[in-house]
Symmetry: C2
Subunit: 457 residues, 2 copies
């Protein structure tokens, strides 16, 4: 499913040995890629190199050879000797390095409060190393520092003699995301940036999400859609499996809106039961909306707080999230969620019965409208033949429904390692909660005409 | 701080539009980079490209031009039409694509249980799309699938006529980390892999970690170490700030051991109070060791379960972690951790007093030896002039000490966004717990001769 070619394209160059060696993970490449996409510019590649000047220069040259119109770099703008990006980009663009005196004064001003905060630092050493940050390629536009490092937009090479000049415009940004991101708008507003991306094509991008079917099913559906006469050529479709959910992202030019609408209709018809998001909204966003005006408490064993942490990751969660118990020990299950010790004794801590008791108990304990209980074996140890590693029991219940208490409970064996099992359990719990909030329940299954819905895989 | 040059080097090529566009974040590049490092092979670069065949081929060629001996690819081995890596690598290595019949049979065998589990799938469609996965470049070594996709080790190009052949060996691995990682050992064991990395230099790598000082101080220390006569040239030093901790990673050839020992001694002398790890161990690992034989419970407000989730991320955590309360609402603080409502009324939920009450209350509630209480304002809303966003109060206490109850409590204003503040709070809590377990405490501060230790910044 490829779309028509779409000049201009961009390259993203992330620098830093600590990123290349995996000590820290890169957040800038994907972020810049997404910002470029919004401007109608495709990122052709993200390249990560260490702090070796020759690797940096070679990466820039290889991007230029690929005909990219714009290069965005991150990192290597710090005060230390191995921070070389500005100089290398200057060389790549054939521009002399010059001291920008107002910029030097500006950086000194920024450093003043820090120097008073850490009084033991050597002021001369700091001034020396930060003067370096004020030396920039001739003709570059300086972007106001957010930390201490200024960003740069460096126009293409001048022509001279046989050399026609040209090549990519290079946007040079600092490595820390909290410095890079606020600088982006200023970079985009420069003339050199605008000129580099002139001719960008406007794209639309839609995302739908499904939960509870294998990825290969989507491949089949796309084939069948095409066989049914839906034109997929103008749609660039990417499917991916993430945290147990399937995401289908489609990018297209406005003229292909009808083709997209037809595809979406086909998917809705085929997968109505597992398609939970037509507008790209995440399960997290949907739950936040569905929970408005209600209250929730959770009791987690094997997920150890991950569900609570994910729910409270959103600002404003305190409006519906009352709290939770991380009930790792059997005593905690009893004490915090009122699970009878005899029940644990009889059926074991990892059981459907205990999951139900946790959900009901924690809701009652917190006087919440809704409760979630999770108990399972995340491994690597603790599995038995009857109860293997990966076995997780999850229950969601509502005490407040007008038609009496309702609940959904599932027992699943999840694949993967400890981290996968914990993460997947949280996702399943969130989907069960969504279904409960939309009116589904084990009690009402016959009434609603629903069957067993597979969850996870 | 650069070291001698070190052939052979490798390139890592991560494929997938979903990675390039930031829909999912790449975990394979850093992981493979780290595995290569252990074999003495530097990764020169990590490149991420989408699923366009021309971009893939250009990336491979650009790596070959840089003289890399080995290329490791991830992704693009699935059953769908946009999974093209094997074919493109075959073209790059000048090798014809041939159907490997035993491999086709093996994949069918792997698919059988899945097909019985999802009975609605069309078996023919599946067999067709998975036959594709059994078509491999001639002369390649096939790596046994972990999922359904086999890996490949493809030797360099044959020579013929004017073409001398040669170039990099290409290791082709699937995208999902849980498939890629188990295949690595088999890839490394192949002759083609071994030949490609012949001549790799043995390196040592040591990591030390500090907590509670700014990164610029380390830059100064390195300068001073050099001025004091310690030879840094043979040491390749990378410093980075991560989750509020500073990590200094040093790589060197065995002959430079004395230089490294001298540097470590210098750092120990300067930063003994903030240097918490000399052997690369993380705070998580250290806490797991220190907690052996004791029990712990936590009460979290603004971190919403993140501390419990991080503590239980380790297998075996159930030996010391009893559980915790996510006490988001004031009622939960009272009910789960026994914080008196009058106290919250008087000093506010975000206060040193409530942090102490949470720590003591939750320890008593769970009958645990140790308790942790965290309360703060993670934002973006909820801040006031007195209590700004980022204000977090953290207390750790021990009820079980022979010399009476001990505790450490800190009030800090943390920088960053909601996610940063929550994450940093967890790190600070873990460091306070470590200090408490090592005998430090607010009560014993005079006795132990310690002063106020800055935490966070």
């Amino acid at each position: 499913m490829s779309s028509a070619s779409s000049p201009p394209r961009a390259g993203i160059l992330v620098t830093g040995t600590e990123v290349l060696t995996g000590i820290i993970s890169d957040r800038n490449g994907p972020w810049v890629s997404e910002q470029l996409r919004k401007l109608g510019v495709d990122a052709a590649m993200i390249e990560i190199v260490g702090d070796r000047p020759e690797d940096l220069l070679q990466a820039l040259r290889s991007m230029a050879e690929r005909g990219l119109a714009l290069i965005v770099t991150s990192g290597g703008l710090g005060p230390t000797a191995d921070d070389l990006t500005a100089e290398i980009v200057g060389r790549f663009c054939g521009r002399e390095m010059v001291l920008d005196e107002p910029l030097e004064a500006r950086i000194a001003e920024i450093l003043a409060p820090m120097m008073s905060r850490w009084p033991n630092l050597d002021p001369d050493a700091i001034r020396r190393s930060n003067r370096k940050q004020a030396v920039v390629p001739e003709g570059a536009t300086v972007l106001e520092p957010v930390g201490t490092a200024p960003g740069l937009v460096v126009p293409p090479r001048h022509g001279s003699g046989d050399d026609p000049g040209g090549g990519p415009t290079v946007v040079v940004l600092p490595g820390p995301p909290r410095e890079l991101q606020p600088m982006w708008a200023a970079a985009v507003a420069t003339d050199a940036f605008r000129e580099a991306i002139a001719g960008a094509v406007e794209y639309r991008r839609e995302i739908v999400r499904l939960f509870g079917i294998p990825e290969s099913e989507i491949a089949n559906t796309l084939r069948d859609a095409e066989a049914a006469g839906i034109e997929l050529d103008p749609l660039e479709i990417t499917t991916c499996l993430r945290r147990g959910e399937i995401e289908i992202a489609t990018r297209y030019e406005p003229a292909a809106q009808d083709a997209y609408d037809a595809l979406l209709g086909f998917i809705e018809q085929r997968h109505g039961d597992t398609l939970f998001s037509r507008d790209g909204s995440t399960i997290d966003e949907q739950l936040a909306g569905l929970l408005a005006g209600r209250t929730l408490a959770v009791a987690e064993s094997c997920t150890g707080g991950l569900l609570a942490a994910r729910l409270t990751d959103r600002a404003g969660a305190s409006e519906y999230f009352l709290g939770g118990g991380v009930v790792y020990s059997n005593e905690a299950k009893t004490d915090l969620a009122g699970v009878p010790p005899e029940l644990i004794e009889r059926v074991g801590a990892v059981s459907v019965e205990v999951a139900v008791a946790l959900a009901k108990g924690v809701a009652s304990r917190f006087a919440a409208d809704l409760g979630v209980g999770i108990t399972g074996i995340a491994g690597p140890g603790g599995g038995t033949e009857d109860k293997p590693v990966g076995l997780v029991c999850i229950s969601v219940c509502s005490a407040a429904a007008a038609d009496g208490p309702r609940s959904i409970t599932r027992r699943t064996v999840m694949p993967g390692d400890r981290g996968d099992i914990r993460d997947r359990s949280v996702t399943v719990a969130m989907h069960l909660l969504r279904r409960l909030l939309l009116g589904e329940s084990d009690e009402g299954r016959d009434r609603l005409g629903g069957g067993e819905v597979p969850v996870g895989r």
